[in-house]
Amino acid sequence: MSAPCMHPSCLLLLLLVVCRHAHTNLVSVTENTTVTTEPPVETLSPITPPVAPLTPLQTGQKSVVLTGENHTEKVEVVNPVTLNLECVWTGDNKRLPNITGYWTKDGKTIESSYSNTQLQNDRYYLRKEFSIMSEEDLGTYSCIFGPKAKVDFILAAPYLGEMRDKPIVSYVGDSVVMICKMDEKKSKPINWNWYKHNGTSKEKIEVDSPGHRYKITKDEKKTKLVVHNLTESDSGVYFCGAVYGIGTSMGHMQLRVITYFEPLKPFLGILVEVLVLVAVILLYEKTGSKKENQSGPEGNPDQTSNLSHGENAVADGHSGTARQRKV
């Protein structure tokens, strides 16, 4: 299923990313053509990069004006794109006419990117065009002015919505439902995939695996994995991947499968506690009443003294308890 990149939604996407940072100047994004990408071809490795599109690419541009020393900009990339990144620096007190600037990707300097920039309109400019074709091209691109100022562009596929960080607990023989969601505001993925971690790598979950235990439902922005007839070996980490033109955005969750004996232990513990307490209370009452019965006639002075104490308390209260009111 191919997802044509709609003109307004891509525009909206990039604008939304920029608008989040109020202290940067806004961007002008130009779209040239719409793009269709082929769905990922299944090869032996679990995560496959998409096939390079034959039609002309989109181009995009991002510009950031830096007034301080550091800035980070998140850029969401959905499809392969040629991205023009521009850094504008207002400079420091020195105002040197020439400054050396360069670009790095994920911390490593891009050798060919060294350039001298001149002060234009009281600002320094660094521009470079990057071709973002596949998942390897995503990462953190930084432009660095001399030793001082730096702007980080974090290029990534749209992140998944909130995932549960604690393990999901289920029982042997029971079934479990795991859900992955993409935010309403972000673009919808081309496809969803589920993987299970089997010690060393991720293994894709196929729906028609032997036993028919897995069921995967895919809505536009949501996917559900149902596993029936759980066994303890089903415990582990599961990954859901939202497939976009540029790559796959992963989320993970942990499943823990336990037997019914685990909650049974605290259950029995509390049951024993309750039985013991009830027995103690009732026994105490029985022995207490037996003593009263045994000391029957002699108990009356005790009772009357208790009674007079009670009477006094009641009498004291009565001047306050009595009300004057008719029905």
Partner: protein
């Protein structure tokens, strides 16, 4: 006409001694009754995903439980009239536990409605009514204080159950948690075993004549004595539950007033967090507002009981209750004036005080009106009639909210 008695019970309530242990037992029972349905919401999200149902369908579990608890009130009253508080509470604990254990094996949402909702609700009803009734048998002079202390059970148990439920859910998932909750609610049986029937063999010898006449209690007491003189003229039903309460003017006023009040009483709690989020406050701070509300509720209930017991307020406790209800209304009317997070915190505290005052006095005023002897039947009738506004209140308020928002948008 029999000589006027200072109380129509025919014996002297101890007003202390074992009574305070009974207050502790009532604290536990009332706490579970009110807090248990509310605390189950922690599990709803996972159960909703597991069964693949919508949120409103899962929220019905809480509503069915609450409805069942209120509707089973009269049955509970009949049983208490017949057998006393202790057996009913212990049976209630067992029913509730059985309901939760069966629910942990549930295979469909209907199964949950039946086990948690209906069976669980019955179990809670068998806890609530007897707990309230037994306080009336043990206390007369210090009754408002005892009632206030017992009603504090609700916020305290809620405060304890909420993080406990979260912990159980993280460790055992929803099925295991329901199983363990089934064991935890068996502590209601422990509470029941503490509810020793009061010793009625003590004969009261009046030392001093009461200075003022007991108005309503004496008249209703005389009525009860008269009706006891001619048992054959009564029907079987009248022995079990006292329908003659409907001729009692005070009871009718209380009933009508409560029905009207409960339509709007619980709505602010339901909408406090969404209202805060609407004002732009983040989710955790909005949830924290509810904790502040619960804390102020927790401390004001015993305080209200204590104030209600003082000799200035006790004779006029009905007016104190009326004041608490009006204070509630004023508090909510002023709500729009509170803006910003600090304002909402102040509102949560004031609202907590108002809510706590009303809850602490709710059953004390009923006891004061009808007398301890008929209280058991009265509370059964009141709860089944209150069932409707308690259930319909929040959804109707929600509709109002929708209507007003739609109207505002269209202007």
């Amino acid at each position: 006409m029999p000589p006027p008695t200072t109380n129509n019970l025919g014996y002297t309530p101890p007003d202390g001694g074992w009574g305070w242990v009974v207050v502790l037992a009532a604290f536990i029972s009332i706490g579970f009754s009110y807090a248990f349905p509310k605390s189950l919401t922690v599990y709803f999200k996972e159960i909703q995903e597991y069964f693949g149902v919508s949120y409103s369908e899962i929220a019905w579990v809480s509503s069915v439980m609450l409805a069942s608890m209120y509707a089973a009130g009269p049955i509970s009253s009949v049983l208490v009239n017949r057998y006393g508080s202790r057996p009913v509470v212990m049976v209630g604990g067992l029913i509730l536990s059985a309901g939760m254990i069966l629910a942990s094996l549930g295979t469909s949402i209907i199964h949950l409605y039946l086990c948690v909702g209906v069976i669980g609700g019955f179990g809670l009803a068998f806890n609530l009514q007897p707990a309230l009734t037994i306080i009336g048998t043990y206390f007369q002079a210090k009754r408002p204080l005892a009632n206030g202390l017992a009603m504090t059970g609700s916020p305290v148990v809620l405060f304890t159950l909420a993080p406990l439920n979260q912990f159980l859910f993280d460790s055992f998932g929803w099925r295991g948690s329901f199983l363990i909750l089934g064991a935890i609610v068996l502590n209601c049986c422990v509470a029941g075993s503490l509810m020793r029937p009061v010793n009625k063999m003590v004969v009261f010898k009046p030392k001093t004549e009461p200075l003022e006449v007991n108005g309503a209690e004496e008249a209703s007491g005389a009525e009860a004595l008269r009706s006891e003189d001619s048992p054959k003229s009564q029907s079987c039903v009248h022995r079990f539950i006292d329908f003659s309460l409907f001729k009692h003017r005070g009871f009718l006023i209380y009933l009508v007033g409560n029905v009207v009040m409960f339509f709007g009483f619980f709505a602010p709690i339901v909408f406090l967090a969404p209202y805060a989020k609407h004002q732009g406050i983040d989710e955790y701070s909005a949830a924290f507002l509810l904790s502040i509300f619960a804390l102020s509720d927790m401390f004001i209930r015993p305080a209200t009981g204590f104030i209600g017991n003082t000799r200035w307020i006790r004779p006029k406790i009905q007016y104190f209750f009326a004041f608490a209800v009006s204070y509630n209304g004023v508090c909510h009317l002023l709500c729009p004036l509170f803006s910003g997070y600090a304002g909402l915190v102040v509102y949560a505290i004031i609202f907590g005080i108002a809510f706590g005052m009303v809850c602490a006095l709710l059953f004390e005023t009923l006891m004061d009106l009808v007398g301890a002897k008929r209280f058991s039947s009265a509370v059964g009738l009141v709860t089944i009639i209150e069932c409707a506004p308690v259930l319909l209140g929040p959804p109707i308020s929600g509709d109002q909210y929708c209507l007003h928002n739609v109207a505002a948008l269209h202007q």
